[in-house]
Symmetry: C3
Subunit: 131 residues, 3 copies
């Protein structure tokens, strides 16, 4: 392994991918989706619920490095239905703000893609943090 | 806020997202689209015009950190019609080169996605800069 | 050019984009696809073959900076058919592990997009390395 690389690897996909990797001050996270610690999808038909669970997973990865949501600098939201975001923005960004525990001081890119790894998933959130 | 994080937040979407975040030498920018300072879409049916406006926005964010286009190291182009790029590459990359004020020394990922936040938008450009 | 920026620029798309850019300890790579040094598509109908060639290209870019696959910290897979990945995961991630020469200690985001730059391409891999 490359010198100085720290890896967090746990949960249902630990065999396939690292949940997070730190090198220097940068922490990269795998795209997080609405799947819990047992590999079960949470909130299949509930977009805000999926946002909440995805961020719960983000937070858990960050904690493995002693980092927190406020260390996130950049995020990309890959969603399957962008109108579901734009049409309910106050509510959904409220869920996001709650996940951050305050106004999120992060950059964002919001993209509608054509599919995620499982058909029930509606959002995958990719975060970069710097400590 | 995380120690040492600098945030640029202005314009029509300032309530929802940060335009740019700097931590250490890295500057992350939110995906930039062809929307002007008043929140109006520029060049609805004009792809090269949208590229130009998106980069104008990138430049403005960078300037808030005292940085410039030459500090960009990486960019991702999310476009709604990749054939419109590939079929007019010389022209479109000419607009890009003009935005950079010279040969862009940046890496690029070019992807066709299925939708952006507003139906008139044809490109969203996500940049990372290092100073 | 921004001070301290190192650029790798070679191969069939050298006029348009940099293959890799290093600034400080971070190395950004352009999205890599299954195209060889002569600009020919490799493995048009063969997804695992495309993964293999894309990583061969990643490796070549890294070598220009004296870096190796183990320095990769983050990757995004943009694929045209996510079911082709999920339905053949052991095989495809076997090809990936072989490309890394061991268990990849990297984060991953896996997204199905609607098109890549050429219709024969089925995957574009975007990597970030830190040395």
């Amino acid at each position: 392994m490359s010198e100085g690389k720290e890896v967090a690897r746990f949960g249902p996909f630990a065999q396939a991918i690292a949940n997070g990797v730190r090198k220097g001050n940068a922490i990269y996270l795998s795209g997080q989706v609405s799947i819990d610690a047992k590999g079960q999808i949470v909130g299949a038909g509930d977009f805000p619920g999926q946002v909440k669970q995805a961020y719960a997973n983000v937070k858990e990865v960050l904690e493995r490095f002693g980092a927190s949501m406020s260390d996130i600098v950049d995020e990309t939201w890959f969603v399957t239905d962008i109108d579901a975001v734009m049409g309910d923005l106050a509510n959904i960004f409220g869920v996001r703000q709650e996940a951050f525990g305050g106004k999120p001081e992060v950059t964002q890119t919001l993209i509608q893609i054509s599919a995620l790894a499982m058909p029930e998933l509606r959002i995958e959130i990719k975060c970069i943090a710097h400590v």
